[in-house]
Each structure stands twice: as C-alpha cells, then as structure tokens.
C-alpha cells in the first residue's frame, strides 16, 4: 500500500511537471530589440573575442613549439607550456558555447578529446611515418590530437618536461599536432566571425582547403529573422541558457564527479599539466561571460543579467554570487586534483555547481522561456 501511495505521489508529480509548458511554441515572435541586443553582445562580446583569444594564442603556441624544435632547451619547453596554458584558458572559457560550429564541424572532439589513446600514440611514435600536420589531420583520430596530445608531449606532473626527455619523434609529432590545433582554432574562430580575404587566417584556411560560406555568428544574431540560425529569438536565447546548463552539469557531474566517484586519476582531464582546476574555473567563467554579456566586465553589452536584474534584482545578485562561489569552491580543492579526488572540497564544489545549475534551470530560464 505504501508503494501505491508513493506511486500516486510520483504520478501526481509527473502530472504537475509534464504538463508545465516551458517552451516557446505558442509565443508570438518577440523580435524585440532587447533579445536582439542579447544575441548581438553574446556573439560579438563573448563568443568571438573568446575564440579570437584562443586563435591568437594558438598561433603563438605554434611559434613557441617551432622555436623549441629548432632549439631544444628547457627554457623553450617552459615557454611552449605557458603558451599552451594561455590557449587552453580560452578554450575552457568557450565551453558554455559548444553548439554551432564546434559541434557541427566536429571541432570539439578534435580539439579536446579525453582520455588520450596512449596505446596508439606510442605505436605512432614508434613508426616510420612522416608526422606532418597534413598526415595527422588526414589519418589520425580525435584521441591522437588536440590539447591533450600536446599536453602529454610537453608536461609531466604539472611541470614542463625536461627538454632532454623529449625524443625526436615526440618533437616531430608535437610540431605537427600543434599546427593542426592552430588550424582548427582558426577554423573555429572563422566559422563564427568569417575570414577576410588576404588575412593570415584566410591563408591558413586555404592551406587546409576549408572555406566559410556563411559565418555562424551573424546568423545567430539574426535568429527570428530570415536567414537566422534559430526560427525565433527565444530559442536562440534558450540555446545560450542550454550552453550554460550543459557546462555546469559537465563540470559538476563529469569533470569533478566522474573521478570523484571512480577514484581513478585517469578520469581526470588535464592531469599531465595539473591544469584541471584552472580548466574547471575557466568553464565557470564561460558561464559568467555568457550571462553578463562579454568577456570584459567593464565592457559588456545587453545581457541575460540585465533582464534578470529588471525582473528580480535579488535573483541577479544570487546568480552572480553563485557563479563566484563556484569559482572559489573549485579553487579550494587541494591541488593537484588528481591526487585529491575524494577530498571533501570536491563534494562541496560539486554541490555548488549543481546549485548553480538549479538556479539557472528553475529561476533564470523561466524568465526567458515560458
């Protein structure tokens, strides 16, 4: 009987929740300047500057790796490692917008697959094949390229490897795989922003036989109009929120949650460089930038935050506070994460990410999506 009563409650809960209408299907096209402004600043003050930062730093990373190839010194490994971290920061700060080009062109897996396939990587390094960028791009899968392959080749135990440890074959692969990463960072940026003829970006794209017919950024801004990426503006705003929810969930339940649950350091992303906690904090900054309308707090545009503040100033304050709390609670986890998987601070940070997720799901999203 108790079970039946429980079942009744479950059923009633289902009635209550399943009949709640949370979409935009019956909303008239709002086409307001406000939503248009949010989409505009999201693309032009958050997404494109983030990808520009990643693209510019990836070029610097390639320069540093080439310098290391020419002159294999410990100092040059350190410089290349710093450039990797600078590029990585922007990638992690982009993970609240892994829809559109990152998704459709398979760039997310190519740039950031984890774990690495060390079994195959060792075989590749032991082979006689030429490890050029074009060969890697044409024949090597996602688990043999991207940030983590470069990381593995340059870092050990949170530090730059000694130059003498890096073999000639590793150096050759590092050079090729970094060039592929640079190409893909340029492709990702250009897929949103376009590539003007005659620029270095356009040359790079030509070199890899890629072209951008219609950049995604302007069409995302145009949502709700002819040629817009989304048929109505509300759906595009909802996509911004979806991106926020996805990364909050991923950081809380997978990036922190999976290794916490398994206790296996191999489940920890970025553990050769011990960059994991910085990665996760940057993921939360990605949420912040998406919410406040820009990557520079002093130069933001129309934003989700503006609307929330108008409707409910306390809620806006709560969102911003909880974003900062998430950043600080991740920062409170003893470093390196791989050696502290079961620390209480991990649980606290996971709970904070879930709390942030709840605020966006239950309080913020309903303001925008009826």
């Amino acid at each position: 009987m108790k079970k039946l009563i429980q079942l009744a409650f479950v059923a009633l809960a289902i009635i209550a929740t399943s009949c709640e209408k949370k979409d935009d299907t019956t909303l008239e096209q709002t086409n307001t300047d406000i939503y248009g402004g949010i989409l505009d600043s999201y693309v032009n003050k958050t997404v494109i500057p983030t990808y520009k930062g990643m693209k510019d730093n990836s070029k610097d990373l390639l320069t540093k790796v080439k310098a290391l190839q020419t002159n294999k010194t410990d100092a040059n490994v350190v410089e290349a490692c710093k450039a990797w971290q600078a590029t990585r920061k922007y990638w992690e700060q982009s993970e609240a917008f892994l829809f559109g080009p990152a998704d459709e062109r398979n760039l997310d897996p190519y740039l950031d697959s984890w774990p690495l396939d060390l079994t195959q990587l060792e075989q590749v390094l032991a082979s006689n094949e030429t490890l050029s960028a074009s060969n890697i791009s044409d024949t090597k899968g996602a688990q043999l390229r991207g940030f983590h392959t470069i990381e593995y080749l340059m870092f050990r135990k949170g530090k730059a490897r000694a130059a003498a440890e890096i073999t000639a074959r590793e150096m050759e692969y590092l050079s090729g795989v970094t060039e592929v990463l640079r190409n893909e960072c340029v492709l990702l940026y250009s897929s949103w922003a376009g590539a003007e003829k005659g620029t270095n970006d356009a040359e790079i794209l030509e070199g890899i036989d890629k072209s951008i017919s219609v950049p995604y950024g302007p069409s995302f801004v145009k949502s709700g109009k002819v040629g817009g990426a989304y048929p109505i503006q509300v759906s595009a705003v909802d996509q911004i929120l979806q991106g926020i929810l996805d990364i909050a969930d991923e950081v809380g339940n997978q990036k922190l949650g999976s290794p916490h649950k398994s206790g296996n350091p191999l489940d920890v992303e970025s553990w050769y460089s011990w960059n994991s906690l910085l990665d996760f904090q940057d993921n939360v900054r990605s949420i912040k930038h998406s919410y406040i309308g820009g990557i520079d707090a002093k130069n933001t545009g129309a934003s989700l935050s503006d609307i929330v503040k108008k409707k409910n100033p306390e809620l806006d304050k709560k969102v911003l506070e909880n974003i900062e709390l998430a950043i600080s609670k991740i920062g409170a986890i003893p470093s390196p994460f791989r050696n502290n998987l079961t620390a209480n601070e991990v649980t606290v940070a996971m709970e904070q990410l879930n709390a942030l997720n709840d605020i966006f799901t239950k309080e913020v999203r309903p303001i925008f999506v009826k």
Binding site: E104, Q120, K140, D246
Partner: protein
C-alpha cells in the same frame, strides 16, 4: 494484478490531465504566471514530451527519468558520447581493431545524425569516423570471403581498414508544374582499397546508410504491437499503399522489426552497435567483428560490461521527445491540411499508442512511464515499396530492396539546430524536405504527385508543418 490496474489508472489520469485543451485550464489562469499549459497537439510523446528547441532537443531526459534513473541516464549518456580508446580498460577501451565510429555519439551527435563524410568528403572521411555504415555482400546474398555484413572503413593504428567507400553525385534537374526548379542528388557508390584481395564491383551488392535520429526510442520500444498489426491490415489500394511488417529474427525468435531504415531490428541494437560499429566485444557478441581475418590475432576478451550497455539502453529509452513548435501559426495549421490532402498521413501515421506496461530494457529493468501513452511519431513503422529509384537492391528479412520503413517525422524539424544540416533519407541524398518528398516513388507516388501539383504556397505550408514536428 491490482497494482497493475492501479498503475494503468494513474497513467490514464496523467494522460488525461495533459491531453486537455490549453484554453480549458482546470485552474483559473494567473496572468502573471510564467507557466503555460501545453496543449494536446504539442505533446509529441505524452509524459515524455520535453520543451526545448535547442541543440539538446534530442539529448534531454524525459522529466520522469529522475533520481536513480537519472544517475543511470547520465552514466549511459557518457558511455554513448565518450570516444572509446584502444586500451584494455573495460570502462573506456576496447575499440577496434576495425570500426566505423569511435562512440555512439560520433555518428549520432547530440543523439541525432552527425553530418556524413559522404557529403563532406565524397566517401570515407579523414579521422576516425565517417558517420555512415556500408552493408555489402555478393550478388548471391553471401558474405564475401574474409569479410562480414558491414564494411569497416576505419581501423586502429597498424591495421588496415576493410576498404574505403566512395560516392559520386549526379545532379538531376527537374521542374514542378508551377515552374519551380529543384534538383535531386543521385549517388553512385563504390569501394576501393580492400584490405585483402580486390573484389570486382560487379560482384558487390552494397548499400550505404546514414545514422537515424535517436528520437523517441523508448516510445518505439513500448509501441502497442497490436496497433502496428492492425495498421498492416489497413490497405489503401486507391492510393497504391500497402505497408507491411518486417518480421525479423533476433534473440532466437521472430519479432516485429521497428528500428533501422528497413525496420530490420526489433530492439535498439546497443550490443550489436558496440560490436559492429565500434569493435567492442560484449557478452552477446564475444568475438571481434574481424575475428577470422588473417590480420586479427590475439586472445578474445569481453570489452564492455553488460551493465554499461544496459545504461546506454536506459539512456536511449529515457530520452524525451521534443514538443511541436509553431502550432498556432496559420501556415503550419494550413500545412497540416495539405499534409493530409497529399495523403502523407496514411503512412506517416499521426497518432499511435504505447502498451500499458511500457518498455523493458535489455537488463530486465521495466520503465512503466513509457506505458499507456498517446504519441505522435508520424510513422506506421511498416515498410513500404518506395520504387526502384530510391531502392538499394539490398533486402533485409522481408523488406525488399525497394522497401523502406516510414521514417518517424517527430523531431525532424529540429535537425538543422541539433546537427547543423537537413540531409535526409537513408543515405542523406535529400538536402531538404522538398527533395525528400520528391524521392518518394512506388507507394509514395500519389503523395508526391499531389504535392508536385500544389501551388508554391501550399507546398511551403506543408513543409512548414513537417518542420513543426
């Protein structure tokens, strides 16, 4: 017995409570409320309907998948998405030696249809997945020596893929009666770079299949099969329509085929997918897909646990189905009339029902929430002869080369947002809804002709309706 009765009554109550007109709210509407009631027309899948039109529209759990179910859903989601490596780690490894994709999600990105390298690269793509499968055999319906059912066009490092697939498209220009021009992309496929001896293409029967959307998998597995049988009995000779069940033989018994382009599977093929698509052995298929080939050596072992596969199965069953959109648009409403005028609804059946008891996973877990629902998949799950032009000369069970399962249309209008393209049909040859309709032959011929003879506005309205699903 009483418990079951009680459950059925409760689910009927759930259904009834949702299937009411939005204008007849039980409670007095609060004009300041941010919650609106869904109308029956929006509820694509009863209590499994979700309300999102974003890139995650195919990749979000139904509301009832909560608590422990949600934990398993997340585990299954990760197993579905995360690429498998080639290590011996039973949690993350086992891929290869031959494979077509690195994870379910490599070809079903966001649980949809990853754009195929057929279109992007003219066949087998670079990297380690191409987002299509190639079935091939001899003209006598036998496997080629040293090959199996599927041509695996990717392999782990140091191994040779079984072959590389190529496609060449010919543009066939056409004009509709009102002067509207359109073009059909006619593919020609061939294979090169066989890992063993070359096979002359005259000795190859092959078909190429792009991934299907994983929308409504749970509902499909819970379908009231008596209803499918009764749909088979409905014939429409005046329109040349006579769908039939594809009876398949799986798990040692004859069953109604429901999934796959020719309804050639009875379940969600999780175990088969892990083995055949990714080269990951499991308890149901313990031998490597390439076992017996000269290039495969070493001990055979189980590479993924049954528990993990059950979680993937659960994930697929618990996915919500996106609600319809733009249902109040006059164009969409009119388009629905045109859909019926063109007799599309005779095969793309609007309303079906699920069994009272719901669906059961491969590990025996029952999901009663899928039971007793009124759903709108826009399919009869039967196979229909669509004519030789769309046919692939590749029969599967009693579905002939020209027969195809009616594709469920639910969620289809969101494919551009979820996967960034609108390629359709079994091999992605159609670039949009209009082309997909114009490929309809055989039993779809009458619908195609009616559609062709409509004026532009009527056709556009019909397409707008299809995109609202």
């Amino acid at each position: 017995m009483l418990q079951n009765y009680f459950k059925i009554m409760l689910f009927a109550l759930i259904l009834l409570s949702c299937e009411r007109d939005a204008n007849k709210d039980v409670t007095k509407p609060d004009i300041n409320s941010t919650v609106k009631m869904a109308s029956a027309r929006e509820l694509s899948a009863g209590v499994s309907t979700i309300f999102t039109a974003t890139s995650k529209a195919y990749d979000t759990n139904a509301d009832w998948a909560s608590g422990k179910l949600y934990d398993r859903f997340l585990d299954g989601d990760a197993l579905y998405d995360d690429p498998r490596d080639t290590s011996d780690d039973p949690r993350t490894g086992g891929r290869g030696p031959l494979f077509c994709g690195t994870s379910c999600g490599s070809c079903h990105n966001n649980s949809g249809r990853t754009k195929s390298s057929l279109i992007r690269d003219g066949g087998t793509g670079p990297g380690d997945f191409s987002s299509f499968l190639t079935f091939f055999r001899t003209p006598n319906d036998q496997y080629h020596r040293n090959y199996g059912r599927v041509l695996h066009d990717h392999a782990v490092y140091g191994m040779k893929p079984e072959g590389k697939v190529h496609v060449e498209y010919t543009e066939e220009k056409h004009k509709l009666p009102d002067g509207t021009e359109y073009s059909l992309r006619v593919p020609r496929y061939w294979i090169t770079d066989f890992y063993a001896e070359d096979i002359d293409m005259s000795q190859v029967e092959m078909t190429v299949r792009t991934p299907l959307r994983h929308v409504g998998m749970g509902q499909i597995m819970a379908l009231d099969l008596d209803e499918i049988r009764s749909l088979e009995k409905k014939q429409y000779p005046e329109y040349g329509i006579s769908g039939e069940i594809n009876w398949v033989f799986e798990r040692g018994k004859k069953q109604i085929g429901l999934t796959g382009h020719k309804a050639h599977h009875a379940d969600l093929t999780v175990e088969l997918g892990f083995l055949s698509d990714m080269g990951i052995t499991n308890h149901r298929y313990p031998l490597e897909i390439a076992y017996g080939q000269p290039q495969v050596t070493g001990e055979q072992r189980i590479e993924i646990s049954s528990d993990d596969m059950a979680d993937v199965d659960l994930y697929l069953h618990c996915l919500g189905v996106p609600s319809r959109r733009n249902i109040n648009s006059e164009m969409v409403k009119y388009g629905e009339k045109m859909f019926r005028k063109a007799k599309c609804h005779l095969c793309h059946v609007e309303t079906l029902h699920t069994r009272p008891e719901g669906a059961t996973l491969i590990d025996g877990t029952n999901l009663p929430w899928l039971g007793g629902q009124t759903i709108h998949p826009y399919s009869d799950f039967l196979v229909h002869d669509m004519g030789p032009k769309l046919g692939d000369d590749f029969s599967q069970y009693n579905a002939s080369g020209d027969e195809w399962r009616t594709t469920p249309l639910w969620g289809g209008g969101l494919q551009k947002i979820v996967n960034g393209h609108t390629d359709m049909l079994h091999d992605g040859r159609a670039r949009n809804v209009l082309e997909a309709i114009m490929w309809h032959g055989g039993e779809g011929d009458v619908s195609r002709q009616i559609f062709s003879n409509m004026n532009t506005d009527d056709r556009q309205s019909l397409i707008a309706f299809v995109n609202s699903l």
